[in-house]
Amino acid sequence: MRRVYPNKDVCIGCHICEVACLTAHSASQDVVIAAKEEVASGLQPCKAVYDKGQISVALSCRHCDNPSCVSACISGALYKDQETGRTCYNEEQCVGCWSCLMACPYGAVRRNVTKGKIIKCDLCEGRDIPACVEACPNNALVYESR
């Protein structure tokens, strides 16, 4: 399956991927409305850029083959789609116990405090290429099978 692979050697730490992620997951699909209005009501990006000195890298769910988050999920909200290989998340089911957030050793599950539920990368359901990859100005994110 295709996954999003970060390349920290060329990540410039611009955080544009976060903005792209936010917009792609917004109701309005408009960057300004998403960031100004929808964030206030709990919209959050699933992407996070980590910076350390001169190194930056943009990380999100790896869609592991045998994911710890699915093991830990008590509500069935997280599951592995056998056909696509994706680690899927059904927000309806999530009870906000944060077990997955603790179990994921990649720190790729995040807390949406407003909703009391988790958020994580869905590889941009409905888009050919995830928004973060498409927006990255330096090819520091690639979407491919390895």
Binding site: S71, G76, V95, L101, R146
Partner: protein
């Protein structure tokens, strides 16, 4: 011949998914004494508290069993295993052959020998049926005492309090949650529960359940002499592995059913996973029963892989972890969190009483081996990575962890490159 799984908890679901990863054809039979398809067991407190309806308790979609070619026999108890003949016999005397067998029988609530414990008005809280009972009960009564200040006890108390009951917790230890967490975390949680009107009595135990002459529960008498009035008692001290089937079949048991890395028991073709299994641990030297949810799933998953495949796929080892929220106060604890003095561990703690946050990190041999977080749990997973992968810590990195700034960029570069972004093979 099918794969047979006894038990219908999360280990069972893990095993089904593990088997199907390798073998998509051979039928699977699940035998369960419960009457419902697999549900998220920890969700029973959410259900009891009224936060979710019955429609949300199932762990997998309705079509899960059919899609995976799994036959489920509910309300069926297994009476015996014949490991030589490779059969199981149900209480209804049905004999079923198995190709490979998984014991995922979980545990049963531990009932301490308290005077007056036998009889009506005493409940447990480990199954959906228990939750239904308590929900009914909460409409009829006003006061309840929960025995046990562990995770199940506290969640039971919280849920009952949500139903308007006057609720008290009795815990033998000096603090609640002291086993999975520690005293400081226990205190913060206790504070939150007390703010919400739950009474907490620590350092004492229930000596007697007081009853009327008709046998109705009217209260409990504690070891310290105090009496608490109540109409029901919920005993939530913990669970003990259901070993009888295995023991009777001559399968090696200790505290749980003994299994190796591949979840194999002493009997050929028989596996065990979940709360019933005593398996190698990721951090501790000796094998342990680690009765926690993620462990049960992953043990089940690996058991499933091994049942269906010639190639061994060892389980990475049990890793205790608990994440749970009390009235919105999130907590997480993972790994080895209460080291003894002689263990040569380095413990770092930071408590912010004003904001109700607490962070405890336990290091040994320049590795992180455990943590407790209260209030701020957002970085939990990033700490977990250091423990799960046993990453070596340089002084700088350790400093950052202690400062509450874990990051994937603190991983040794090679680990990051091989684990976070594995290159094409």
């Amino acid at each position: 011949m099918s794969y047979v799984i006894i038990g219908n908890g999360v280990a069972s679901v893990g095993a089904i998914e593990g088997i199907r990863k390798v073998d998509t054809k051979t039928p699977i039979l699940v035998v369960s004494e419960e009457d419902t398809p697999t549900y998220g067991r920890p969700l029973i407190s959410y259900f009891l508290a009224g936060k979710i309806g019955l429609d949300r308790v199932s762990l997998r979609p309705d079509e899960f069993y059919e899609k995976n070619n799994v036959e489920v026999k509910l309300n069926t108890r297994v009476a015996a295993i014949d490991k030589a003949a490779k059969t199981i016999t149900t209480e209804a005397d049905e004999v079923i052959e198995y190709k490979e067998l998984l014991l995922a029988t979980g545990g049963v609530p531990f009932m301490p020998p308290i005077k007056g414990i036998d009889g009506s008005g005493v409940y447990n809280f480990t199954t959906l049926a228990h939750a239904h009972e308590l929900l009914d009960l909460s409409k009829r009564i006003h006061r309840v005492v929960v025995v046990g200040g562990g995770l199940i006890g506290l969640k039971a108390a919280e849920a009952l309090r949500y139903n308007g009951l006057s609720t008290a917790i009795v815990e033998l230890g000096s603090r609640v949650l002291s086993a999975a967490f520690d005293d400081v975390a226990g205190n913060l949680v206790a504070q939150r529960l007390e703010e919400k009107g739950i009474t907490i009595c620590c350092g004492t135990t229930v000596e007697e359940i007081l009853r009327t002459e008709q046998g109705e529960v009217i209260g409990v008498r504690l070891a310290n002499g105090q009496k608490l009035a109540c109409e029901a008692v919920v005993v939530a001290i913990g669970v003990v592995p259901s070993l009888n089937l295995a023991k009777d079949a001559g399968i090696a048991v200790n505290r749980g059913i003994k299994v190796d890395d591949n979840m194999c028991t002493s009997a050929e073709g028989v596996y065990a996973a979940g709360d019933v299994a005593e398996a190698p641990d990721m951090i501790a030297e000796e094998a342990r029963v680690t009765p926690i949810w993620p462990n049960a799933f992953s043990q089940g998953y690996h058991a499933g892989l091994n049942m269906a495949s010639e190639e061994a796929s060892p389980h990475p080892g049990g890793l205790p972890m608990n994440a749970i929220s009390f009235y919105g106060l999130p907590t997480a604890s993972l790994g080895h969190v209460n080291p003894n003095e002689d263990e040569d561990c380095e413990v770092f703690t930071e408590l912010d009483e004003e904001n109700g946050t607490y962070r405890k990190l336990i290091f040994r041999n320049e590795k992180l081996i455990g943590y407790v977080l209260v209030g701020e749990v957002d970085f939990a997973g990033l700490y977990t990575g250091f423990i799960r992968f046993g990453l070596d810590l340089t002084p700088d990195v350790k400093e950052e962890l202690i400062a509450g700034q874990p990051s994937a960029l603190l991983w040794p570069e090679e680990e990051f490159d091989t684990k976070w972004t594995p290159a094409a093979e």
